[in-house]
């Protein structure tokens, strides 16, 4: 129902009652503004959390060796647990649910890595082919190390993008030989790591090659695997199986917490998501509270407005205003004020979030404080509708006032 004349009537009334217009508008503006800021902050925390975990696959279990802390089978505590390739093979063979398994064994000691005259000190990781699924490596060129490399002790390597850039500059690297401590190693692939380890300077060697070249026998530092489930219970069951298996193989008490450290990423993520679910619920409660405060504010003001305008309404009725026209005048005024104020709250809130997202660098556990624009729009609509409803009841009451009463001289 577009009635230009009514709008002019409304605008003249809005313009001539600035304080009450401002107060109504402000409570709506503030409600929407705060809701958006809160939701944005909540999303910022959630994005930050996701970043923390996105550099590796989430459904992984990491196993690190330690030293025994309990006597077991007549052996004293304090024995160092040393993993070997056989552990990996055994786990892979006997624990159901394990998909990719690998190690990330460090090559100790000073290593000279060079290609022609370019050289540098980079992190060397000795691993299995499955490692690229665990670290979520993106292969840019060539291939990652494969099973054949492992079997045949091939001297091949996959370089991270930044190592390739440091050693080869613009030159093509695939098929060329770099030297590690003067041992030629063939470059078979270039990769990029996702998430937090992006840009790290690393190169991967087949574990068997590294063990042979650097005389490490069959030792590995640790092992990690992806599993075929994301459920907390199933992953915990797998952890228990691994613990039992390792305890049996290395002859320590299963309840010995010092002998191996097993980190279940699903469990850790769950811990954080629980916290953030709580934070989100909290944010929604506050946000809804703010909206309710806005609605109460609007209804309060509308009640006062109607009271204040009782006489005017009486005059209008005496001059021929129908109850409908009285209600629609007041309600449309409420709609205009709340929607304009709501819109400004929306723009201001989103604007502030954008400014924060642009100018504040991502911190751990806080990144991109954005808000789902549809939620913001719905909240605004909700507040406008509520403001309107809040206006309707006093307005209907006002429309029922008898002009005699309204016009009675004080």
């Amino acid at each position: 129902m577009f009635d230009l004349d009514k709008w002019e009537e409304i605008f003249s009334s809005i313009g001539k009652n600035k304080l009450r217009t401002f107060l109504t508008a402000f409570s709506v503006f503030w409600g929407i503004f705060m809701l958006i800021i809160l939701l944005g902050a909540g999303n910022g925390l959630e994005n930050g959390l996701k970043n923390e975990f996105s550099n590796d696959a989430i459904n992984t279990i990491w196993v690190y060796s330690g030293a025994t802390t309990m006597p077991h089978n007549g052996m004293k505590p304090g024995r160092h647990v040393q993993f070997t390739n056989a552990d990996i093979e055994e786990i892979k063979r006997t624990v159901p649910g394990v998909v990719h398994i690998s190690t990330q064994t460090n090559i100790y000691g000073e290593k000279q890595i060079n290609y022609k005259n370019n050289q540098g000190a980079f992190e060397i990781r000795a691993s299995y082919p499955g490692h690229r699924h665990i670290e979520k490596l993106e292969i840019l060129e060539g291939r990652f190390i494969n099973d054949a490399d492992i079997m045949a002790f091939r001297k091949v390597t996959a370089l991270s993008k930044s190592v390739k850039a440091a050693l080869f500059k613009e030159e093509d690297a695939i098929g060329k030989y770099i030297r590690i401590n003067n041992i030629p190693v063939k470059v078979v692939g270039i990769f990029d790591d996702s998430g937090g380890e992006k840009g790290r300077q690393q190169l991967y060697l087949p574990i068997t090659t590294a063990q042979k070249v650097f005389s490490m026998q069959n030792r590995i530092d640790n092992f990690m695997m992806t599993i075929n489930t994301t459920s907390l219970e199933e992953s915990n069951a797998i952890v228990e199986k691994i613990r039992a298996k390792v305890a049996e193989r290395h002859n320590f008490a299963i309840e010995d917490q010092g002998a191996v450290f097993i980190s279940n990423k699903i469990k850790e993520l769950k811990k954080y998501t629980n916290i953030f679910d709580g934070v989100n619920i909290f944010i929604w409660i506050i946000g809804i509270g703010t909206i309710i405060a806005g609605i109460v504010g609007v209804s309060n003001i509308m009640t006062i407005v109607v009271k204040e305008r009782t006489k005017e309404i009486g005059i209008r009725k005496a001059l021929g205003a129908t109850p409908f026209s009285v209600v629609s005048l007041i309600v449309q005024e409420a709609i205009i004020i709340t929607s304009v104020a709501g819109y400004f709250g929306l723009v201001a809130g989103v604007g502030l979030l954008e400014a924060v997202a642009k100018n504040v660098p991502p911190a751990p556990f806080f990144d991109r404080p954005e808000v789902d624009i549809m939620i913001a729009v719905y909240a605004t609509i909700l507040l406008v509708v509520a403001g309107t409803l809040a206006g309707i009841f006093p307005a209907m009451k006002a429309a029922q006032i008898k002009p005699v009463v309204a016009l009675r001289d004080e």
Binding site: A318, P403, V405
Partner: protein, 208 residues
């Protein structure tokens, strides 16, 4: 307003012809304002009949009552009852808004009626910038703009000094001469003496 019934008027039998200038007199509590409100369709009555322009006015819906008020009746009040945030012209034009007349046209008409009241130069002034007499003239212009059948004036001079009162009465007489029925509620004898007929109320009945 309240639910408990209070019998203010206890049997009124009167006929006011078209074009008459009548005053209703009585002391406070005599029921004269109640009668005027019933005549103005601002209030309901319990029993009896009220015919306005040969139409029975009883138990009308609010919307219908609003329509009749807009069409047939112009009100003039003791306290003027101008809308405080509208200027003189907008106040005069307001009844036409409820008749659905465009803003431009009704403002033009309002200026014309203000001109008749000698207030053309005050059209842009807000009510609080006008004197009592000027306010009442604005109110009369507003009552007249819909060309009603009846002007109902509730103590129109109650808030005015004697000179201004006389002015206002002259205007109302003038209005009456154009054929509009004017009914004035007053408790002032000299005001009622200026009308053609006086209906005296006492305790809710007409005195003879």
């Amino acid at each position: 307003m309240g639910d408990n019934k209070l019998h203010v008027l206890k049997g009124i039998d009167a006929h006011i012809r078209e074009g008459e200038l009548v005053s209703i007199m009585g002391s406070s509590g005599s029921g004269k304002s109640t009668l005027l409100n019933i005549l103005g369709i601002l209030d309901n009555y319990d029993s009896g009949e009220y015919l306005l322009n040969n139409t029975l006015v009883k138990d009308l819906s609010e919307t219908k009552a609003a329509h009749y008020r807009n069409q047939f009746i112009g009100f003039v009040f003791q306290s003027f009852n101008l809308v405080s945030f509208k200027n003189a012209m907008e106040n005069v034009a307001l009844p036409l808004y409820y008749k659905g007349i465009s803003r431009k046209k009704r403002n033009l008409m309002a200026l014309e009626y203000l001109d008749k009241m000698g207030l053309r130069n005050w059209a842009e002034h807000m009510p609080n910038e006008l004197s009592g007499g000027q306010k009442q003239r604005v109110a009369i212009a507003r009552a007249l703009i819909t060309q009603p059948k009846v002007i109902l004036a509730d103590e129109p001079t109650g808030a005015l000094d004697s000179v201004t009162s006389l002015e206002v009465m002259n205007i109302l007489k003038d209005v009456n001469r154009q054929g509009i029925t004017v009914i004035i509620v007053t408790h002032e004898k000299d005001i009622s003496e200026m009308t053609q007929r006086v209906i005296r109320l006492r305790d809710g009945v007409i005195e003879n």
